[in-house]
């Protein structure tokens, strides 16, 4: 069987590229060099230049992918660890996360209606502000396209991390709490890694908001998809 060595090679190459991109991002921490983005572009470029398909890549890729489920389960740990911070700021966090989910899905719906975007694409866009593994599952459950959803989640994450500092400045929001909640509930893990630059408090608030969005988001996605269908 040739499959196992090929799968192994794919995994090893993916890990090496990822580690290289992490090193690059540490040297030049600009949003456009986010490791997820650069690794993805790098791997797609390799596959394209050797005329290899995505299905071929996934013979190895699915092993890494299968760890996503347990990784989402792992989010329970920071949530438990930060329970005191969460309880102390429970009201603004919960209200912020709910506002984030509602405003995100509402503006999407509005813009998609104006531009007459097909329904299946709209359904794939709805989970865009939720962390990827959950967003994919939500897309799957509500009748969207999970792979398209990954693209939208990436756009929401990276554009959010790039736009947030200017937006917060223009709208005169200097609160660490507000910054953390906005980053975590609009741009999930990528926003949360951006929040790290604002200090530990903002970082922890952002990861809590991201986790809460991942828990409450599927319920909202489910309700909205029921309303649409």
């Amino acid at each position: 069987m040739l499959q196992t060595p090929i799968a192994l090679i794919i995994i090893v190459i993916t890990v090496i590229i990822y580690l290289g991109m992490v090193t690059l991002y540490r040297k030049f921490p600009i949003p456009f060099l986010l490791p997820v983005l650069t690794s993805t572009i790098f791997i797609i470029a390799i596959l394209k230049s050797f005329d290899l398909s995505y299905d071929f890549y996934m013979t190895g890729g699915h092993w890494l992918h299968s760890l996503l489920g347990p990784a989402v389960v792992s989010l329970a740990y920071p949530l438990f660890h930060q329970r005191k911070t969460i309880i102390k700021h429970a009201l603004p966090i919960l209200a912020g996360v709910l506002t984030g989910l509602i405003s995100g899905m509402f503006t999407l719906f509005l813009l998609a209606e104006i531009m007459s975007i097909p329904r299946d694409i709209l359904l794939s866009m709805i989970p865009k502000s939720i962390t990827t593994p959950v967003a994919m599952q939500v897309a799957n459950d509500i009748g969207g396209n999970p792979t398209l959803t990954v693209a939208f989640v990436m756009i929401a994450g990276i554009s959010g991390a790039i736009m947030a500092p200017s937006l917060l400045k223009w709208f005169r929001i200097r609160s660490s709490l507000g910054t953390g909640i906005a980053l975590g509930s609009s741009s999930h893990a990528i926003g949360t890694s951006k929040a790290f630059e604002y200090g530990e408090f903002t970082f922890s608030i952002s990861s809590v908001s991201m986790t809460l969005s991942a828990i409450i988001g599927p319920i909202f996605g489910f309700l909205i998809s029921k309303l649409l269908l």
Binding site: L64, V73, Y77, F80, S103, K128, G160, L168
Partner: protein, 132 residues
């Protein structure tokens, strides 16, 4: 991290993931199995059924390599080249605009609530001072 211990911890997390999937299938819960697993794990830690140090390092490891675990899924974008031209760019713009709106609305709301709370606390302090 000790390898055996690490694999054991990852095993526990995997069991919670499988349990979540199982519950979703049996009870038809409209939540992803992984999120049900997350909630189960949270409940297990809060009720002291599962000591936190049993999963602490395994969870820390998985969260540290989370971006790597996302890569196989994001590479799937290669099957949708149309997203990067014509109408696809419009969709790009919609997602960005919605994200910007979300950031502003969310930050404003939580900022307002935080200030309201601070003002209430200040008032309490002031009235305390006056009554003394």
């Amino acid at each position: 991290m000790n390898l055996v211990k690490g694999i054991f911890q990852l095993g526990i997390l995997y069991v919670f993931f499988l349990l979540g999937n199982l519950l979703q299938e049996i009870l038809y819960i409209p939540l992803p199995g992984s999120i049900i697993g997350l909630l189960l794990l949270l409940a297990a830690m809060f009720s002291n059924i599962l000591p936190v140090h049993w999963i602490q390092q395994g969870a820390g490891f998985l969260l540290a390599i989370l971006p790597l675990l996302l890569v196989p899924a994001t590479v799937g974008i290669m099957n949708y080249p149309s997203l990067f031209s014509g109408k696809g760019l419009l969709i790009f713009l919609i997602v960005m605009t919605s994200t910007a709106a979300t950031i502003i609305i969310t930050a404003k709301t939580s900022h307002y609530l935080e200030n309201a709370k601070l003002k209430r606390e200040e008032k309490k302090m002031c009235s305390k001072h006056l009554s003394h």
